[in-house]
Subunit: 427 residues, 3 copies
């Protein structure tokens, strides 16, 4: 349970807020690289942390991510002409380069010096892992590029989607680190989804519905260990890394690819659920990417031409009561991703945390909230923040059976901090 | 005319408000019994007096009406699994019985005692008259079940519907006790609607458009007598009972069934218009129920799968200007129910009563408002409230011709307070 | 750039506001005359300056423009019956004449005198130029009918439309007097649109994209001269009259009809863009009116049955990126009118003027804003306001080539203040 003040503090992410300033210290996934497929392609609207921007790729292939509205009279540059190394406002032809500098201001003689004083807010970007990332913080504090494993594997080993989630980011992250709901909400789907079947862990998940949560810190964040009973003197451990400030990695099953999420605030009532599958050692198979494209695993089907899930609030997520009754799904909603999203959105755009009742399986959530607030306060005080270096992000999820006496922080170390190009450690 | 303060007082119905606390002293129609057709059927969202709830029928057929959101992390239990005598949250499997008790809390060992401390707000329900009723007030003040005649007749003598009205409840009740608009708004439809035709009263209605309103009190509420000139030394009386806090009964016409309404706040900008036809002495005929199902009389056609009228604000209520011009309808809107609803919604979600100009035909409205506020204040002071006993609700509407010298409270007594299984007294 | 206070002052137009009181001093175009085609036709909802009204034409052909809501209980008179010289509320039959007087109040005996005390706000109207105009100001200050040339030419010389613009009126006016954007936004369309082609001016427009703005006052408002280089020692002048408080006239091209706008606030987030073509000397040709009906020039295609443009915010104005890339249009939006409207709406319902950067081509805008505020303050102090007499409105736009040494206020005088029935002075 949180007080109204605590809740307010952790959910707001606009400029100048505690969390907003903190999140601006990291590289933020802004859009797919294929949303800007070629030089001088159409600009794209982007909103992050409450700020409205427009992204474009200029004639030289450079990416710009600048304020959406022209400095002159406030026209949206989404209507702009992307040509000759700049985005030109269609109203009076003012033109901006990828750095937000005004390179042409045809309404005013150059001699007045006005042009050189006009500048739109612009954020640096990098392309990595199929994603265009941006950095919206103080320039002098810009970190090195993301060291996350999925970002750095060869493209054929990775599959990346994003979907709109109509809720605050926090209830989305909380779902991402919450192994305990898997036994319930996803129980039926685990048996059918081609990206989850065939793991002995699924049986342990089904038989032990009250995992013990054992949270440990590592350089980049938290290791959220969920311990269930396995066979003969052994525990089944599922270890979900939470990398500051919003990355989560699902513990793997059998030989399936790993699944990652990034939960990024659009504004305080909506977030992007970036959903990534990757295999650290091999290319994804056609069968795997086919399933992903079809909305299996952590991916979804979309309203055509949008990033809005086809099953959404306006259609009660295509609730199938017969399927729920028959146990085809546990909640009546099809698909792992929308099973989570439907429930998280049902809490309201912002969950009322003054009324919740947390229990021991919420230990990871409690630690993550505390960690986020602590890190944000550290940032405000000029102290170092966790998960900011590439090295600190080099962690994988892991699922493993260990003898009672061996703690996962020891027994699973080789799986969590594995060298590149190796198979996941998984059950 | 009311002051802004008076208006505010009478229209707000959330928890803790004057009217909200008062309404919670009565049995409230919550949903059709057929919305929960069998044990373990899908749960249904219900909102009353601003409170969001979920209704379900458990394995034993018991009905639960509990807070919508799980005590754990706030997920909507509408997504819940209704099974084995409880509604189970699909996120982590917490389970609640019809009394709101948490019967399973798989995330926590039983020894911690957490489960037994978790409880959702739950309201008692009864099934009566085809309707599931709930009581949302202090347990020690729970009244006996409704004594309304329509509730207690055999099912084949009754037909019950509900429709969403996008306005505050008060302007809906005001329409329900306002006999004077019948001569205008419904004039044309009375001549065509199979559930209203054939009454001599329709002719009096047409000829005398300025009824005298004569309001009397009875134990359960108000008798709103509307007096019109009839033939040779006689008055035509239409007597509309208003039973506290929101029941109204339309004066009957010829041998047609009686028509009743219950006007129940969903929130302060929407209400349920429960619409009931019943005949106290005989089964409804197939012709009658056929007409009702087709949207005749006080019933409507719906947007499929909803309780939203097909003719609604988004389509200007299917306004037919040619029909209005030709006098097929007076306002251009088809159907008695939507003729009322369209105008009441046109006042705005909450009518601005600081600008109204009431006149003598609004006498019933004035008395009803005063009565409601007086009763609500009495409730707050711990004094008895009217219309709370079953006996006090045993009243019928009546239409009758009486000699000039005979007041309706005497001359129509036998019709208003008639024994069961007798025909309505009607013209 | 404006302060938040200045902006607030100039954009608000409801009753009692500085601008609202000021605008109420003028005749306001309220609706097309053909929206009330005949006596006793259906009433029409009208909203102006934040006030909701209903317009009707009574049995004698007189036009009423009265408050929308019945004085009795607040029902919308849009549902009213228009019959026998009045609009009758369908609820209880109260009836109002075109002056807002209650002529029948059937709920109350005449002797009580109530009827004679009931009055709805009603505004005088006149029909002129195919438009029904209203005056919403103090009766003693009602001005003479509009003297605008387009209003007073023969009907066959004029074509009038209106469209909804989802923005505050001010950013719409600002577009209307801003000749500088023509070189950019409309550049491509000028070459194709049948109502703009064939003018030598289009070439000057294309070649000189940095016009010098030279603003002069005249009795009725401002003359906004935009000077571009023409051939051999001459300037090409485009002179846009702004007539207080919201009329603008586009400088003509070749032999095409003149184009006028009136930008009228509906509320503070929406306005009517009245769009008029007229030729002062001859009837419009069939080809011209055909093009106008098809949405060419300053007109648009509509969502059927509405005044909402077919290309609108909900469909991203039917953005055609390929056409934008190919230069078919400059912004990707088809049609002169929607090129303007899309950008003006993209600024937000109310442009944030605390962030704008005005330059020398915005001189007309700066002068117009100052002029409006000055006039509004004069009105408040009881001083004369500009553009209020018919004579002061007798001005035309003009486009002309003049030797360097001749200022347009001298050299174009004969074009700006031309006698009726003469050709426009145009290039």
């Amino acid at each position: 349970m949180m007080t109204a003040e605590q809740s307010e503090q952790i959910i707001r992410t606009g400029p100048g807020t505690l969390m907003g300033d903190y999140f601006r210290r990291y590289w933020i996934p802004a859009l797919h690289d294929w949303e800007l497929p070629e030089p001088d392609c159409p600009p794209v609207r982007v909103q992050l942390l409450g700020e409205k921007m427009v992204a474009f790729r200029d004639t030289e292939g450079r990416i710009g991510l600048i304020e959406e509205f022209c400095a002159h009279r406030g026209v949206s540059l989404w209507f702009g002409r992307n040509e000759e190394c700049g985005l030109r406002c269609p109203y009076h032809g003012w033109k901006y380069d990828v750095n937000g500098n005004c390179t042409e201001l045809p309404s005013e003689p150059e001699e007045t010096g006005m042009r050189s004083r006009i500048k739109l807010k612009a954020y640096p970007t990098i392309e990595a892992g199929g994603v265009i990332w941006t950095y919206m913080g103080p320039p002098e504090l810009q970190p090195e590029p993301p060291g996350l494993e999925w970002v750095n594997v060869a493209p054929e080993r990775r599959y990346v989607t994003k979907r709109l989630q109509e809720s605050n980011y926090l209830q989305a992250i909380e779902g991402g680190i919450d192994s305990s709901h898997v036994s319930f909400l996803h129980g039926s789907s685990l048996k059918r989804d081609p990206l989850f079947t065939g793991s002995r862990g699924n049986i342990y998940n089904e038989h032990d519905k009250m995992p013990i949560f054992d949270v440990a810190e590592f350089e980049g964040g938290l290791l959220i260990g969920a311990r269930r009973n396995a066979d003969e003197g052994r525990y089944y451990w599922r270890i979900t890394p939470f990398i500051y400030p919003w990355h989560t990695i699902i513990p793997p099953r059998a030989g399936h690819p790993l699944g990652c999420h990034v939960w990024v605030p659009i504004d305080d009532e909506n977030c992007w659920a970036w959903s990534i599958n990757y295999h650290p050692r091999r290319a994804l198979t056609e069968k795997e990417t086919g399933a992903m494209k079809g909305g299996a695993g952590i991916h979804v089907k979309y309203v055509p031409g949008t990033f809005i899930p086809l099953a959404n609030k306006t259609n009660d997520y295509l609730m199938d009561r017969a399927g729920q009754k028959a146990g085809v799904t546990f909640s009546g909603i099809e698909g792992i991703a929308m099973q989570d999203a439907s429930l998280q959105e049902s809490m309201g755009a912002v969950q009322d945390r003054t009324k919740e009742h947390l229990c021991s399986t919420d230990n990871g959530i409690i630690m993550m909230r505390r960690g986020l607030l602590k890190a944000a306060k550290a940032a405000r005080e000029g102290k170092p923040v966790p998960g900011i270096t590439a090295a600190s992000q080099r962690v994988r999820s892991c699922s493993i059976e260990l003898p009672y006496a061996v703690h996962y922080t020891e027994g699973a170390k080789h799986g969590l901090f594995a060298p590149p190009d190796t198979d996941p450690v998984t059950v």
